[in-house]
Symmetry: C2
Subunit: 429 residues, 2 copies
């Protein structure tokens, strides 16, 4: 593990150098990555084909092969993402607040990079480009570990990025490093003196296992048990449309609905219609006792209330009140994304105030919870933490702030005791 | 540990109720605490005298007895702090950003409470009032553990606060709970499914031991190894004054200077004068070899560069350049607070950009790093974390945000595929 500590120490040193690289330099580095991607397309595609062939002989599932694939059109998509990232405002050096503590003693709070980020991601090689470029833009050093099935692609991409950014400015040396083994990443999780943040991009199991084995802050979510609650007064047409989208538009992802809560007063009008739509889409319904009296469902067990199916399965429960819906969501949900369908603003506000989730929604589909749709540009991930960054996280989640105090020789002794000077504490624009 | 889980579950339920309590109610609760403190002053003072008598018989040091003391004038100080907290702006429900994703689909990011905070503090009973009131103002539930030597005072204060706030509104039930044993607090550290943030207020050893034994985010700092670097061109008068204040104004605290770095070009002019001032104040000097050729010092060892003396001891090192000073601070410091003395703005900016500390200062004393002096009102603590909150942390550090998306039946299926609608992503004021 000496090698991994050495890599992390190099990343820490790089992170210090990155702190004051001007925006133009960071953008130039990203432009150079774009150029290299276009020039060396064939090299990358060949490396990827090697991975694909090995994965095929190893009998990898076709869905995984599809995620592993990184061809010309995927490279173009990475280029488009890089271009859009270059256009984004500088997340670093932003003045968050300025206050005069006393005449000639000015306190400024400014955004700055976090430092060293450790990232583990599964399968998709485009994640390597996306996360590295977010780190470059935000002035962070990054240690990456990809899936072993994408080994050749990841190595080619990491080498390309390193050459592109170091070619732009030598201070980018060691800013993007690829770890080669799972053991190295495990070793990294122990280095809480050097690594400031861990971002896992992969299955819930991966996230949970990482959360359980590190003291470094982890940005991500282990589960996405999302709800839609249809209130008594909801527009039936809207409820049916939104509930269908939330479950069926892309069921394999974390912001898809897993449990539908329906107010008792609207259940008989809504459920038969919904059941019909869901049946056509092949959705298996698991309902509580009252719902089984209205539509045909498999009986739901308690574990259905906290299961993330990521599939065409839906749990259904009938509730007697808005309060009961809120309690159910706070008790069984994963604090990810939950929606209410209602015509009543007061009920909507109560729901959005009291449901303790990173995204709360009124009259729209839970599937909107996403960095791109939220206008954040690229997304680092969706966080269900209660500190630092919550919900879809973009560039801002890779920053923190520092206080800068500029004076003219002030000492604290002048502000204490009987003849103490007063602070002015005047907000500046 | 069933009892402690039950307490944390009650706190979690309380935290859900607190989410939408109006500012006026939270302020009324604080006003009621003020009233009760004034009415029941004698009861609190008697409880404190019991603690003081027991501590005296147990042979507690006089400095600890002084910290334990909570008399009429200390109560008045708590009242003043509460009044100032009532005057502070609402940290909750603040709109951080608003963006139109599409016509009639509005995303609002608003500040909200974190949830359940666990706090452990040593000796000072006023910390109980201060932290509880910060939690009440910010809508968080809190589980508190004080030092056993202040047991009677803490119990009386916790009871008083509970009665005052529950008397104001029943929804404050279980919002402030006192844990009685160290084992209970240890048990709390394991409940990362219920507790969202831990704040330790006490010795570096306490903070380190808590950081090592929980997966819950910890807000605080384990060390304060602060530096002042005097650049070649510094004003001698100012340098002498600021360096004296940083070391001597209150040496027992985390933002006092522990290491003085002096540029080679100014060392012969500055050090004899400083040594003279420090000698009068009884400061022991430990210097590197070059400094020992200019003034009388004990030889510094490597461990002096990362030791927090919290006492009248100062390590001194002569450096050849600004870069060497920055490297030394990033390598040996604790990322707490570091200052440069220079006439040159470019050097000052480089120092403040590249020193990776929560507070970086130019031409003033490190002792200014403090929530009150920074105008934050009361302080939860000073954080050296690189995520969530950094530097002196006030009310804002007890908040996070949630995304609220309000629509009119929008579904994601309309925004994908060939006939996809475009998002407008228009910033709203």
């Amino acid at each position: 593990m000496d090698a991994i500590r050495a890599a992390a120490e190099k990343a820490k040193e790089a992170s210090y150098r990155l702190q004051d690289l001007a925006l133009e330099l960071r953008n130039d580095a990203l432009r150079s990555v774009i150029e290299q991607l276009q020039e060396r397309k064939q090299e990358i595609v060949s490396a990827n084909q090697l991975d694909l062939r090995e994965a095929q002989s190893a009998g990898l599932q076709s869905s995984l092969l599809k995620r592993l694939n990184y061809d010309g059109s995927k490279i173009q998509e990475s280029v488009r993402q890089l271009e859009s990232l270059i256009d984004q405002e500088d997340p670093i050096g932003r003045v968050i607040s300025r206050i005069e503590l006393d005449h000639g003693l000015i306190l400024t709070r400014t955004s700055c990079p976090i430092g060293v980020i450790g990232v583990v991601f599964e399968s998709r090689p485009d994640a390597l480009i996306q996360i590295s470029s977010l780190c470059i833009k935000s002035g962070n050093a990054v240690l990456l570990k990809g899936g072993s099935e994408a080994k050749n692609t990841n190595e080619a991409l990491a080498k390309l990025i390193d050459q592109a950014i170091v070619g732009t400015d030598n201070r980018f040396k060691d800013a993007v490093q690829l770890l080669s083994t799972r053991e190295e990443f495990r070793g990294l999780l122990a280095l809480n003196d050097l690594v400031d943040l861990i971002i896992p991009r992969g299955s819930n199991e991966l996230v949970r296992s990482i959360q359980a084995s590190t003291k470094i802050p982890v940005l991500g979510h282990a589960a996405g048990v999302c709800h839609t609650y249809v209130h008594e007064d909801a527009d039936l047409e809207m409820a049916a449309k939104v509930c269908f989208d939330a479950k069926c538009q892309y069921p394999a992802v974390c912001n898809a609905m897993e449990t539908l809560l329906v107010h008792r007063g609207i259940a008989e009008a809504l459920l038969p219609r919904l059941a019909n739509d869901y049946e056509k889409a092949g959705v298996e319904l698991r309902g509580d006792d009252p719902s089984s009296k209205i539509i045909k469902v498999h009986p739901a067990e308690e574990k259905d209330w906290w299961t993330e199916y990521n599939d065409l399965v839906l749990a259904i429960k009938i509730v007697g009140s808005l309060d009961e819906a809120i309690d159910h969501i706070n008790k069984f949900g994963s604090h990810h994304t939950d929606a209410i369908i209602t015509k009543d603003q007061t009920s909507a506000n109560k729901f959005m105030d009291l449901v303790d989730s990173s995204s709360v929604m009124w009259n729209c589909s839970t599937r909107f919870a996403d960095g791109y749709r939220y206008g954040l540009g690229a997304e680092v991930g969706i966080s269900t933490s209660k500190t630092h960054a919550r919900g879809p996280v973009g560039l801002e989640g890779l920053t923190i702030y520092k206080y800068r105090l500029s004076g003219s020789g002030q000492i604290v002794a002048d502000y204490v005791g009987e003849k103490a000077r007063d602070f002015t504490h005047r907000k500046l624009s």
